[in-house]
Subunit: 507 residues, 2 copies
């Protein structure tokens, strides 16, 4: 005899809320570990996280959950509102992901990812790719096996992408990236050949950390970050994390001789933080209210960092505050001067240090390599050489060492294949959303130049944050911008902006 | 067919470690909430803690655990070493406590304790005991029912005491407290009648918080607190908490016009923290390595605060550092001057502000009232009057309001009856341990006066911290001091110290 559908749904909700709350606890533990935990606590913390993760795994694979989901997902969709249906759909997907993979494989992956990190760190330090290669090979094998369990009908790389960028596939990403690559390579070459160097003198000198902190905090608050429901602290690598939407914690890092890095890290993480604080509040602790994909999350940080804060209107409003904060260095600096200094383009070996023009090529390089290792056309042994060839072809640079090349990123050592595309999908989403915002609020740049950031935040909140997981990232893009993700917007934006900045005619 | 005993024991260990690690997670969540959590996160945090507590309850009452414990506790003790046997014994006790009480009663107690706190806080604010009385009555009823479930053969109050002070009973406590009361009332009267007032001018003025913090941190480190395995922060009420022995977090609070309060809070909490950091390291995450009773824990904080840091040898060493820190206020202050200023005796209404001579009478008053409400000789309605009568009789003070009297403590509102005695048992243990230390290391006071605190820490570590839960608090006292807990030591110590300070002859 089947139970009443409403009762089953309510029980499902209870179980989902439990999982979500335990997830928030893990978020706090992670934040604590990165920000505040005494060094000596590391081993114990790893054991605490392992126990809590095991508890969550038990809850995620609870057979009772299966019974509920089987019953509910067979009901006619019309029996539920769209929020409820989204909860059922998302819960079913999570349950399938959590139960389709044999325990032994889960365990081996977890162990190798954890060990892999140490092996990679050592290999990078020793600048020796061959020390990491066997581990990388095994991780790829395991991730192929894993893909075969969760989505036997899909290419293995698509199954991996899907974890980070739901329903994105090679078939969708490749044409976007191809077009982008075709345009960016000549753009970067033209910038180099222009011979123009930006004057960045204003960005050098000594910037007291307390002043940097006050400046970052002020701007984060202006952007709408709530310090009643969040914190800002310091960690080795900036991140956004914490508990649920009432306890969102962002971090930055400070260096006395560079205020731009800490400030833009604050702005970037505030973008993530606003997404977290602004998610639909009426369905707390339930899947429908979660953030959508990694790419959409990144679109929120990049929207604020690049579309807003690296633009002239924002700098017009904030130059006086920045000049008040650092009067010596900013003496006589104009908005245009600051604008060109922070938007300098310079190809470099390291992805995380790249500017917005060269960054996508770092991502495309990795994407193409991941495609190759998953379809078997590339072997692990070939990676250093292929990497260096592509760097030469795309950015005109030849890495001198493995550490400067194929060993630079942490992702593969943890088994995170298919993650890189999200960075550039996020950049494209951000740009395409921004065009939609400008169409809807034609005077938004004037408003920003008067320091009115609220319309930006409210627009993002209404169109993206409060949509949670109701729609796929693609559908959301269609709803917000009237079309699917299209690299033309991003290409046009880069050509216009950098054509003007470097005084080059790009046709 | 029974399983191999060793395998069963190993499985038990795994389960106990899981519980302990989840307990450490709760410790971190609690610390976070008191020290660092944004205000807006309070409701979500309560829900996170509720889910995690439910997970722990499920693990604590796991029927598999019962099977293991039944089998193991029937084995001959000789099959295990004393550490293993202690783990089995403690686990059995916890399991019994967790399973003997019906779910409904557990739930009602948890809910009323939580609600009770709010009702008490409001009643205290409104200064109206009658608003809190019905809740208090119900809490007492529930705690009697609870006692009847966990220990039907014991008086209900003894079952309540046992939670905090294992195997202490009214039969053991009452004679100790009677003797103490008989001696303290005339001692306090004699101090009052001496007419002597200490010169506390050096303790008043402005003490910059950064300097207070540096001083506290230095002394905590000198005492042996490891900041590699711990932290020191600020909270509304000082406490010691955090994760396991590798992540011990103490707090204090600062007021610009009083450095003594923050400094002695640091020393007190460091005493707790050293117990936590110093517990037996070879049995991590297992019951045998846990701290013993509330009284023994308090003995560690009071040992450092009173026996060491309020004494002349300690002040002899630290006066120069204190004078360096606050040169204006400490100008011309002698060791004797500082010693008498911080050891002033002054009866007051509020327990938490009391000095070491009057504090025990605050505790004895509460103990006597708890005995009365549990044996039925006192009704809740009578409490304000009885409270005030006893205050008058013991300390010569008449509370003007309920808030200054019967409503001052948080404990009862959370259902914590039987907690108060631990404070004074802890003070007596501290004093008796100290006499044992002096017997074993006759020149310890000279060492302390030269700033050599390591022998103190090592003695406490060897004799108490590293004993974990191998012995009962009584047996431990016997082993460390050669006799059971005996209030004579404490009485002699107080009479000697305060007889000299106030120039009175107490025979």
């Amino acid at each position: 005899m089947k139970n009443n559908v409403r009762d089953v749904y309510d029980s499902l909700v209870g179980k989902l809320q439990e999982k979500s709350r335990l997830g928030a606890v893990l978020g706090i533990l992670h934040w604590d570990q990165e920000v505040i935990m005494p060094k000596g606590g590391a081993n114990s913390r790893a054991r605490q996280i392992a126990v809590l993760s095991a508890v969550m795994h038990d809850k995620s694979t609870d057979p009772e959950l299966k019974g509920m989901l089987d019953q509910l997902s067979q009901c006619p969709e019309a029996q539920f509102n769209e929020f409820e249906w989204s909860n059922i759909r998302e819960a079913k997907r999570d349950y399938d992901l959590d139960t389709k993979v044999p325990r032994q494989l889960v365990k081996e992956l977890a162990e190798l990812s954890s060990r892999g990190h140490l092996i990679w760190a050592k290999a990078r330090e020793d600048n020796q790719f061959s020390d990491f290669a066997p581990t990388l090979k095994r991780l790829i094998e395991l991730k192929k096996e894993w893909a075969d369990c969760v989505a036997p009908d899909k290419p293995a790389y698509d199954a991996n992408i899907d974890i980070f960028e739901r329903s994105a596939t090679m078939a969708k990403i490749s044409p976007l990236f191809e077009k982008l690559k075709k345009e960016l390579i000549p753009l970067i070459r033209a910038i180099s050949e222009s011979g123009k160097m930006m004057d960045t003198a204003a960005l050098t000198g000594k910037f007291p950390i307390a002043k940097q902190e006050a400046l970052g905090r002020q701007i984060s608050e202006d952007m709408g970050f709530s310090f009643e429901k969040g914190r800002m602290d310091v960690s080795v690598h900036p991140f956004s994390g914490g508990g649920d939407f009432t306890d969102v914690r962002i971090t930055t890092r400070y260096s006395e001789d560079n205020f731009i890095e800490s400030l833009y890290a604050v702005i970037h993480e505030t973008g993530h933080g606003l997404y977290e604080q602004g998610r639909m509040q009426d369905w707390p602790d339930l899947p429908v209210s979660e953030s959508l994909t990694m790419g959409v999350h990144e679109s929120q940080s990049l929207f604020w960092e690049r579309m807003i804060a690296q633009g002239r209107p924002f700098l017009t409003h904030y130059l006086p505050l920045i000049a008040d904060t650092f009067p010596v260095q900013m003496n006589g600096v104009s908005v245009d001067g600051l604008y060109s200094a922070i938007n300098q383009v310079a190809p470099s070996f390291i992805r995380v240090e790249a500017d917005e023009v060269t960054y996508p090529l770092h991502v495309i390089l990795r994407y193409e390599i991941e495609v190759g290792i998953f379809d078997g056309s590339l072997s692990v042994e070939e990676l250093p050489e292929v990497w260096n060839q592509k760097m030469e072809e795309y950015l005109g640079l030849s890495p001198r060492t493995d550490s400067e090349g194929v060993l630079q990123d942490v992702h593969w050592s943890g088994g995170a294949f298919g993650y890189f595309p999200s960075y550039t999908l996020g950049a494209m989403y951000a740009c395409q959303y921004y065009q939609a915002l400008k169409k809807e609020l034609p005077d938004i740049e004037d408003q920003v130049s008067r320091g009115e950031l609220r319309p930006v935040r409210e627009w993002l909140n209404k169109n993206i944050h409060r949509k949670g997981r109701l729609y796929s990232a693609e559908d959301l893009c269609q709803r917000v911008t009237g079309e699917s993700l299209n690299s033309d917007h991003f290409i046009r934006y880069l050509k216009n902006k950098y054509g003007e900045l470097y005084g080059i005619n790009l046709g």
